[in-house]
């Protein structure tokens, strides 16, 4: 028996799928979300990996969750509570830094004055430049932010209408000062290190700032195209009222739960353990999806929040799409480059350069002592091995949200780069290397916090292969496809198909595979849902 068809069926209950569902439900559509796993959230998920210890298993901070989404969906009422992360602490080896001795550190905090005083310890020039740089970045972030809400035009199309937002952007560009314009060009084209070199001389400062440019990409801090992400931090800052940088109470799963709750409240139906086997296509249009159990769910619109390769080469019957399009999809690059190590510990790490507990542990702890270290870590990955001395971004969520672990104990989240999905053949598979990789990460941490080995109760090591298996992210790419210049904006995921629609009528993409890419932003799901609403006859109830 076929049930009454839905207006929209959404494949995948990650944060973008849920956002899309909420917006469609808000426009009066009958929506169902189909999630393969038993939990919602995709990579924005909280799970109890070790009894009593809850982890943001994959994605671990919220960055740039669109304020309009928070507002439209009233997420705080649905339990969203983002706890601020204050500062970035970069520990150094003994003998490094102006203090020398047991080692120094570079500690930047949200309090601007304190950071400038800290920088002055390193370099007077840099302390001065930091203010100027910060102001310029805020200006840039203001200019660039609207791009996140634009649906990219197709440059080869003859329809001028989608170009209009670009014309608006060009006008605003003209109004910038020449210096701001030049900074914008630099941000879009330079490497993070080259860009920062224009202002700063302090090596750990450049290393730590540039680290944000390489997260989730197969690029090094000296690779052109990494400067742009330097802006993300400042974009968060200008979001103002609601903190965009932080860790959600209850882990990143807390964000997903809040969005799901909002979607349900608006009438969306959400099913877990409902793995989609394929998209049912009739002629040139998608009419529904078939679940692995054989059940068919019919819907007027299908939105896939899974990545482009899985959608077009996995869920769609081969031969449905033009070979040229399939080739383009095949060219889209994934190349997961990161791993995750989650630790359950019974005491805090103790840093040689700043012993004991303290405020420095409450923010991000960045293992990025030097630009060369970052670049060497990348060099390893280029030739197919995980970094011998990786970059680690450590967060201790229990210091701001003690509910994540039993009293007195802690969870530690370590994002690790680089861990290339494709290992050199001589190394074997990731299954053979998981433990060695985990040990490498612990060794790296122990260079600065030697007690780490003694405090670990248990650990979870996620290689790119694990990320692929567990979250369905092709090649373990956390952004559903590399955020490299040629895969952004009107090229994401396929040139000419960056407007969420696909060559199959009634099939949309709504995940991180689309503009504006990955991270817990939700912009993709929202833009796609709005397009579906437009294409299928506008809002059916006053929002």
């Amino acid at each position: 028996m076929l049930a009454q068809p839905y207006d929209a069926a959404i494949i995948g209950g990650g944060h973008n799928g849920l956002v899309a569902a909420a917006y469609l439900a808000r426009a009066g559509r009958r929506v169902v979300v189909l999630e393969k796993r038993h939990v919602l959230g995709g990579a924005a998920v909280t799970e109890e990996i070790v009894p009593g210890f809850r982890f943001s298993v994959a994605s671990y901070v919220v960055s740039l969750l669109r304020p309009e989404i928070i507002r439209d969906l009233d997420l705080p009422r649905h339990g969203l509570d983002i706890l601020p992360l204050d500062g970035t602490f970069t520990p150094l080896h003994p003998g490094e830094g102006p203090h020398r001795g047991d080692g120094d550190y570079l500690w930047r905090v949200n309090d601007h004055g304190r950071t400038v005083r800290e920088l002055r310890r390193w370099s007077r020039n840099d302390a001065e430049a930091y203010e100027e740089y910060g102001q310029l970045m805020v200006d840039m972030a203001r200019f660039i932010k609207p791009i996140l809400s634009i649906t990219p035009p197709d440059l080869a199309s003859n329809d001028p209408r989608p170009m209009l937002p670009l014309a608006g952007l060009a006008r605003r560009f003209q109004q910038l000062t020449e210096r701001q314009q030049a900074a914008f060009v630099g941000l879009m084209t330079m490497s993070a290190v080259d860009f920062l070199d224009q202002w700063f001389e302090t090596d750990p400062l450049k290393a730590t700032m540039s680290a944000s440019g390489i997260i989730g990409t197969f690029l090094g801090v000296r690779s052109p195209g990494t400067a742009y992400v330097l802006l993300h931090h400042y974009m968060g800052e200008i979001d103002g009222a609601f903190r965009a940088w932080g860790i959600p109470k209850g882990g990143t799963g807390g964000v997903s739960e809040a969005i799901a709750s909002a979607a349900r409240g608006l009438g969306a139906e959400i099913r877990t353990e409902a793995p989609v086997d394929r998209i049912v296509v009739d002629g040139d249009r998608a009419v529904g999806v078939a679940l692995e159990g054989g059940e068919e769910v019919r819907a007027a619109a299908i939105l896939s929040s899974v990545d482009a390769r899985r959608t077009f080469l996995g869920l769609v019957e081969p031969g449905t799409l033009e070979p040229a399009f399939e080739d383009e999809v095949g060219r889209f690059k994934f190349r997961g480059s990161s791993g995750k190590v989650n630790l359950a510990v019974d005491a805090l790490p103790d840093f040689s350069c700043l012993p004991g507990p303290g405020e420095h542990l409450r923010g991000a702890i960045s293992f990025s002592p030097a630009v060369d270290d970052m670049e060497r870590a990348y060099d390893d990955a280029k030739y197919g091995r995980w970094s011998r001395r990786p970059y680690v971004d450590m967060i201790i969520p229990t210091l701001v949200d003690p509910s994540m672990a039993p009293p007195g104990k802690h969870v530690i989240s370590c994002f690790v780069q680089y861990a290339p999905y494709h290992l050199d053949a001589a190394l074997g598979s990731w299954d053979d290397n998981r433990d060695a990789f985990g040990d490498t990460v612990i060794d790296r941490i122990a260079e600065f916090a030697p007690n780490i080995r003694d405090v670990i109760i248990d650990r979870q090591v996620l290689t790119p292969l694990d990320i692929e298996r567990r979250f369905g992210l092709t090649e373990g790419n956390i952004f559903q496809g590399e955020l490299s210049l040629e895969q952004l904006f009107f090229n994401r995921p396929v040139p000419g198909w960056a407007r969420f629609r696909t060559p199959i009528r009634n099939l949309w993409l709504c995940g991180s595979a689309t503009h504006p890419g990955g991270g817990i932003m939700g912009a993709n799901g929202r833009l796609a849902a709005l397009d579906v609403v437009r294409a299928t006859g506008g809002s059916r109830r006053a929002a």
């Binding site: 440059l155 030049a182 060369d372 060099d379 210049l485």
Partner: protein
């Protein structure tokens, strides 16, 4: 000197090939033009010099195949004694296993040879060549266009933009989308989309990193490859065209054309400053103390030299001074010139096919080999195993060795990566290492070559800076990378050849469309200078 105040309409600083092109066009446009060159001869990096008695070598650049055809035509360079030789072979890339990749001007011949490597690659080559040509045609059109004025666009800027838009659409839907996708791409990815053979990938990809502080995995290197393929019969194989008598012959022909058009050329005259009044250029000052007046000053020097050395910092202002100082010129290439007493033997060359050595000889065995060579440069080291691209110009141009013993040849080798900024030691102390490492690489494909060398010359990036005035030893007057292209070459807001000092123009490779022996920046700059002059009348 009041009597000389009105003598010149334009003074050109430097006599590199772009400066000479600009001077020739300006003189033809009726400007009384004076060219001032610091060195004892014209040509800059397009130079032929005597390395041993009776043996002349292409000192820096060795091929001239990218020269814009319209420049050669307009200035009648043939009439001024310039003759080109273009061998059928473009590039010969011997591999460690004794095999070789050969790319010919004839696509069919290339495809035939590639069949021995991979049927797949042989089948794809013609398509790839077509794609490169199609995309490069657009890049060539872009190169001939003065970047539009984005701050206060005039009608001409709008028309230029429209024309470019039309050309872009002329690529067709497929190629136009491909262009937008591949321009910022790493060249290693670009070649991997077409070919499976690593040796072939590297042979093509090399042109995407030549002279750049980029490796094949660096974003934007595809744009460099397309720029290198633009404007002439480049295609996937790239150019290999010699000027008879070496690149210096091109410079001499340009100088002759400029003189014939009425320009005066003076060597041994070092300009130390652009003189200004009320923010406008009034002429130049020489190291001798002499001052020469002209309302138009055209710099063929690189942007850093031009803005930071020649212009008063007060006139330039702190912001532009800061921006100019951040213009990137990280030179990575050294030059090794060898005189050999007889032709070295290359085991990869089959009996009777010695002509295959007339093109570029590239030792770049694989994408990773180039990338690893690049890695060293990131840490301020000379590559252990540098990439070597050599030519043996005496094979096509015996005049280079006509005064030497029979059998003598010259080998001109580009050696990369040799970063300008060394972490250890100085280039003066480490010059020999460049030659030794280059020879070790060449020994791998031509065993015994070292023993044949009778004279050698090494030009490090430091020499390029000191002897040729190239900031950072960068022969392209600054990186050809995504952040220094088109609208923002050399600096956003100053890409239209007009420098921030009224009457001062940039005509060298630091201006759009950038480096290489193309004459493009010089030709474009002269067009803008003459247009400004017409407007002012």
């Amino acid at each position: 000197m009041a009597d000389s105040a009105g003598r010149w309409d334009a003074i050109v600083v430097g006599a590199g090939h772009n400066a000479l092109v600009a001077a020739a066009y300006l003189a033809r446009g009726g400007l009384r033009t004076l060219v001032l060159e610091r060195r004892d001869r014209v040509g800059g990096a397009a130079d032929t010099s005597e390395l041993a008695p009776g043996v002349r070598v292409p000192t820096l650049a060795d091929t001239v195949g990218r020269l814009r055809p319209s420049v050669a035509r307009d200035l009648d360079l043939r009439g001024h004694g310039l003759h080109f030789v273009a061998p059928d072979i473009r590039v010969f890339a011997p591999q460690p296993d004794g095999r070789a990749v050969a790319l010919w001007s004839d696509v069919g011949q290339t495809v035939h040879g590639l069949g021995r490597w991979s049927e797949h690659d042989a089948a794809r080559y013609a398509d790839f060549d077509r794609l490169v040509r199609s995309l490069a045609r657009f890049v060539a059109d872009l190169g001939a266009t003065t970047p539009p004025d984005i701050r206060s666009p005039r009608l001409g800027d709008a028309l230029a933009a429209l024309r470019l838009g039309r050309t872009y659409r002329g690529l067709g839907r497929g190629d136009s989308r491909t262009l937008a996708r591949v321009l910022p791409m790493a060249v290693a990815d670009f070649v991997a989309e077409a070919f499976e053979t690593d040796a072939l990938r590297a042979t093509v990809a090399w042109r995407g990193v030549r002279h750049s502080f980029l490796g094949p995995w660096s974003a934007g290197s595809t744009a460099v490859l397309l720029a290198d393929s633009a404007g002439n019969d480049g295609g996937a194989a790239g150019q290999t065209v010699y000027a008879l008598g070496g690149p210096g012959a091109l410079s001499e022909a340009l100088a002759s054309a400029a003189r014939q058009a009425g320009a005066e050329l003076r060597c041994g005259a070092q300009v130390v400053a652009v003189t200004t009044r009320d923010g406008g250029a009034t002429g130049v000052a020489l190291s001798s103390g002499e001052e020469l007046a002209a309302p138009v000053v055209v710099s063929g020097l690189d942007p850093k030299r031009t803005l930071l050395d020649l212009v008063d910092p007060v006139v330039l202002g702190p912001t532009l001074g800061w921006r100019a100082s951040n213009y990137r010129t990280p030179g990575v290439a050294a030059k090794v010139n060898l005189v050999v007493r007889k032709m070295p033997r290359f085991p990869a060359v089959e009996e009777g096919w010695e002509g295959i050595l007339k093109g570029r000889i590239l030792v770049a065995p694989g994408i990773d080999a180039i990338e690893r060579a690049f890695d060293a440069a990131k840490y301020g080291r000379l590559s252990e195993t540098p990439i070597v691209e050599a030519t043996i110009p005496s094979l096509v141009d015996p005049s280079l060795v006509e005064g030497a013993k029979r059998g003598t040849h010259v080998v001109s080798a580009l050696v990369q990566y040799a970063p300008y900024e060394l972490r250890e030691g100085t280039w003066d102390a480490r010059r020999d290492e460049v030659a030794e490492r280059a020879l070790a690489v060449l020994e791998g494909v031509a065993p015994g070559i070292s023993k044949l060398v009778t004279t050698r010359q090494v030009l490090t990036p430091l020499d390029l800076e000191r002897d040729y005035g190239l900031s950072g030893g960068h022969p392209l007057h600054g990186e050809m990378a995504l952040d220094q292209f088109f609208l923002w070459r050399p600096l956003l807001g100053h890409a239209r050849y007009r420098m921030p000092v009224e009457g001062l123009y940039l005509a060298g490779a630091g201006a759009h469309p950038g480096g290489g022996i193309t004459g493009g920046p010089g030709q474009n700059a002269a067009r803008e200078i003459l247009a400004d002059r017409r407007r002012r009348r």
